[in-house]
């Protein structure tokens, strides 16, 4: 898919290139948003077991937590549907400062 990777926004092409190069890759995709979420549904982030990252699923608030989940999915092979929002009351949980809510689907590129 490398002919399409001219755009930095084309995370799927980047992920496919990494996979082809032999990396272990997980793909995170925003599947649903509510309120003032910074990135629309369809926004993607790719993460490799070796620590490479491309794209984003929020304005930067949840990327760390998504990367962690991505590494779990790479090792287990099981997809995850993550829920992020401001409703988390415990301060150490990850939430969105903007007041929005997002769902993020994390899958492994087989």
């Amino acid at each position: 898919m490398s002919e399409a990777s001219a755009s930095a926004e084309d995370v799927l092409a980047v992920a496919a290139d990494w996979r082809e190069a032999g990396e272990q890759v997980a793909l995170a995709t925003v599947t649903e948003t509510w309120g003032s979420s910074p990135r629309p549904a369809g926004s993607q982030m790719a993460v490799t077991a070796s620590g490479r990252m491309a794209g984003s699923v929020s304005g930067g608030c949840i990327e760390g937590a998504v990367a962690e989940a991505a590494l779990q999915t790479i090792s287990s092979g099981a997809p995850q549907l993550l829920d992020f929002g401001v409703t988390n009351e415990r301060a150490w949980e990850v939430g969105l400062a903007c007041g929005g809510k997002v769902k993020v689907f994390v899958e492994k590129l087989q």
Partner: protein, 241 residues
């Protein structure tokens, strides 16, 4: 995602075929739509998602599916391999646009001036006939030369192009409209041309003019309120004559 599905998705993109990747949530089973095996409800939802160019989660007979739209890339046809085009082309590529530069003057339309870009040295009307602009195509004329701009705009107006813009001062634009009127284009059709091209940000340099044109393109593509400006906001709106 399976390698087979990834390959099918890559093939669809290479063939410029719009598709939707459907993922059942939370289990993660996936299929590529349209697919005659998938059932009417899922195919119809995919068709709607493609038409609105909007990915979203939908509920179909009690199951949640994320429909990820993979539309054909937006295209920008730049007529005139001029200095402003040299600024516009890399910025447009950064926005994810597939760019084609059209200019029959080979001294301008050279690979040295426009590296890694598709170049057509056909006459603009013939180039546009071959490119067949659709609803996801933008056409921008930059030559200031009626011999080149007019045939491009004539073909642009006969197409469903998303964004049509012509560089040139207000006076140049009025003269241009008069010539296109003589070719049989009515007022409603002529109103589709953004002239002078670009949002009025008092752009002066080539990169600034490129920025104003791309900003206006994004505004039109995303349906922003400021895209519905009157044709000419100020005398200086259209940059250099």
């Amino acid at each position: 995602m399976t390698p087979e599905l990834l390959a099918a998705l890559a093939l669809a993109r290479r063939e410029q075929r719009p598709v939707v990747l459907a993922t059942k949530l939370p289990s993660g089973e996936q299929l590529l739509l349209p697919d005659p095996q998938a059932g009417a409800a899922l195919n119809e939802a995919a068709e709607r998602a493609l038409a609105t160019d909007r990915s979203d989660t939908v509920s179909i007979s009690g199951a949640a599916y994320f429909l990820h739209v993979h539309n054909t890339p937006l295209r920008m046809v730049v007529v005139g391999a001029v200095h402003i085009a040299q600024a516009l082309v890399p910025m447009a590529a950064q926005l994810g646009l597939a760019v084609v530069v059209v200019d029959p003057r080979r001294a301008f339309a050279s690979a040295e001036r426009f590296p890694n870009v598709t170049i057509s040295t056909d006459w603009p009307d013939e180039a546009l006939d071959a490119l067949r602009p659709d609803r996801r195509t933008a056409i921008v004329t930059l030559t200031h030369d009626p011999k080149l701009d007019d045939p491009a705009l004539d073909r642009a107006l006969r197409s469903p192009a998303l964004y049509i813009a012509a560089l040139g001062s207000r006076r140049t634009h009025a003269a241009r409209l008069a010539r296109l009127r003589a070719l049989g284009h009515d007022e409603a059709s002529l109103a589709r041309i953004r002239g002078p091209a670009g949002l009025n940000i008092e752009a002066v340099t080539a990169p600034e003019i490129a920025l104003s044109i791309l900003a206006e393109f994004v505004a039109v593509h995303r349906g922003a309120a400021l895209a519905r400006k009157p044709p000419v906001a100020a005398e200086k709106a259209g940059q250099a004559a």
